[in-house]
Subunit: 412 residues, 2 copies
């Protein structure tokens, strides 16, 4: 039984909840939960763009405030076709970053709804449609095409600076798009790769303008570039057979990626034969998030080996991968440490983990109270009393800690 | 190119939007879209349960009103652990029932948050935990277990009647649960199968009480029962290897299902080796919805064969499968018919589909206007004029129809 599965299983069975209620709240055991539904309620802002010469509506979802870390900052996911997939991605990120799921960090999600989709999400001007037919009529839906590079300029020179100025952001950004949105994210990776740290392209419309973007990729990737980025791309059953234009083009792109001598590009390709063009984002965006955050949680390992230096190394590796200092949440470390306390020969490891929390969250009475519990279990009453006193100083009214302190002192 | 993919691809490329704007709105082409974000905002009601002797909070998501069909009724999905998975399922159903996705119907989603999870979601009283260890202490989290059958009584005798009395429901209901919620849905299928039409069990905790539920399933299924229901069940990487208790138990359950002589049970089992216990619901609930509604959309077929009788037969089959009269949405039929109008030899089929809309939506000026368009294309001006007049009578102010009527009359 690995610690990850232990935690989730026991959470499901209320055991961890029991422990947490006991330790964290004065209400004690069997308190009735009183859940309140919280909708995804983004800020909806209007951004006046000089680059696009129009006002743009933008949706911005921000995770709930962290009382223990009021200055907490978040990575940011930007999603195109915001009217289609913003709320799904916000829901995914909210769920996957829950303490009892913990496979991604909490994120700010920025949704960009369309005004003129054909204009903004095509890299070149072309009036040739999917079937190869030109439509030169004055009413052609293809007529406004070709504003893609200008749209990327809007994103990098106006939208990202706005979000960074008004929200608590970390420098790691993800760019997600589907169909025309998919060629937009890939165009960004090829022409201004440093705008984002990770790119998602769900069924990119490579057919656009005689495979313009495949040709561009070929040209750019031939030069053996260094691209320290991540990219996830996919396609689905979009032509009734494996011979569809989408699938053939995605296979071409995948072989460009895998056969070129690119340094540093972490990539994943998934083909979804059971999905259609419009259902593919449900699975694709989820798998993309799991790929980008593939080692987010602590590794499953022997409790005797899971000590503070392993934990610190893990978060150093995450910090290197995502380019900013990543500090584990208090709850994740304390859950892991509480599990270690139940395992033979792992008490010192538990203590070393509680110490990480005390270091990262010096204002948390819980962190010191738990450290006291662990030292008490180890038989070191004087240290336990020291930490209980510290916990009480941080939260003087807490009866549960007073009781622990009294009890530990009496036993002396 | 199948019609499904044609529609979705062209939607993505604004072509269908172009057609729709032209036909449906007076604004004409290239109208700027003005999307407004709509959060999942459920009713939150308090239900005083006599069966449970407590007040229960219930979340109820209702699809937006259909102006063309104000009395429209919906199937209902009930999800356990409402605090965990209600908003995800509501998001899925909202997205998957969009006109441009259309792989499920719109649904009412009822989320049931927990008060005492161990009490409500276990079929028997037991104080033996996952590892087989009994915990007889007065504080044991297992102590309240065994209220599962009473909880099912609450659902069937209080909750469902409440929802049916206060919301526009169809008689088709889905019951969805994860972990302890999974054994609850399977217990319901085995003991009161007619409560729901479809059951979802994501990693059901079959380990409960010495595999009580597997034994019950064995007993019930031995009798060669008739169960005209659907069931989806799954498990994930929940023990570090394929030898996990969850996986072994799910394989046992699956062989009970597949090897028993059950009549009428439509079942699907999926194993997710790359998911953990708490991420599995993201994929499992989605795949379950796709399974339950596996043939919801019209079949992909040769335009020359896709006529009204095929469409009517399709909806008769759906009505038989789900147990209530299912009428296609106007938009789905008109999109399909507009596609047929572009295909050689399929104009009469298009007309026959527009006639379905005129029959189902007699108050829709669009339905008659489109029928007029199709007859005009066929060269039957007198019928076109008749239908344009009917459309105009239903919506006297609509300039676009006036213009069509004038134009058709002049050409005569």
């Amino acid at each position: 039984m690995t610690h990850r599965n232990w935690l989730t299983r026991h959470f499901r069975n209320n055991n961890i909840i029991y422990i947490l209620l006991l330790l964290l709240t004065p209400k004690g055991l069997f308190a009735q939960t009183d859940p309140v539904f919280k909708p995804i309620a983004p800020d909806i802002i209007k951004l006046s763009s000089k680059v696009l010469d129009e006002d743009r509506k933008i949706y911005i979802y921000v995770p709930p405030a962290d009382t223990l870390m009021p200055g907490k900052r978040y990575p940011v996911l930007y999603v195109l076709d915001g009217d289609n997939h913003f709320s799904m991605l916000a829901e995914y990120c909210r769920y996957l970053s829950r303490w009892d799921v913990n496979v991604t960090p909490e994120m700010i999600i920025v949704g960009i709804p369309n005004t003129n989709r054909t204009r903004d999400l095509t890299p070149t001007h072309s009036v040739v449609d999917y079937y190869g037919k030109p439509d030169t009529s004055s009413k052609s839906w293809l007529k406004p095409s070709g504003g893609g590079n200008n749209f990327l300029k809007f994103i990098s020179s106006e939208l990202i600076p706005y979000v960074d100025a008004h929200y608590k952001t970390e420098p790691f950004r993800i760019f997600a798009g589907h169909s025309f949105g998919g060629i937009t994210t890939i165009n960004c990776l090829l022409t201004q790769p440093d705008t984002f740290g990770a790119y998602i392209a769900i069924s990119p419309s490579f057919w656009w303008d005689k495979e313009y973007l495949l040709n561009l990729a070929d040209k750019k990737l031939k030069t053996n570039p260094v691209i320290n980025k991540m990219i996830f791309y996919s396609d689905a059953n979009e032509g009734g057979s494996d011979k569809s234009t989408f699938h053939v083009n995605l296979l071409k792109f995948d072989s460009l990626i895998t056969q070129s001598k690119i340094t540093g590009l972490d990539h994943k390709y998934v083909y979804y034969p059971e999905e259609i063009h419009m259902t593919e984002p449900v699975k694709g965006y989820y798998d993309a998030l799991r790929f980008i955050y593939k080692q987010w949680d602590l590794p499953d390992m022997d409790p005797k080996l899971l000590n503070a230096s392993v934990v610190k190394q893990h978060y150093q590796q995450l910090s290197a991968r995502y380019g900013y200092a990543i500090i584990p949440t208090e709850l994740n470390i304390s859950n892991t440490a509480m599990y270690l306390m139940t395992q033979p020969g792992a008490l010192d490891n538990a203590i070393s983990l509680f110490e990480i929390n005390a270091e990262n969250y010096p204002a948390s009475s819980t962190a010191f109270s738990q450290l006291g519990d662990a030292y008490l279990k180890k038989g070191n009453r004087s240290k336990a009393i020291t930490y209980y006193k510290k916990a009480l100083a941080l939260n003087p009214g807490l009866q549960s800690i007073k009781a622990k302190l009294t009890s530990a002192s009496e036993k002396r």
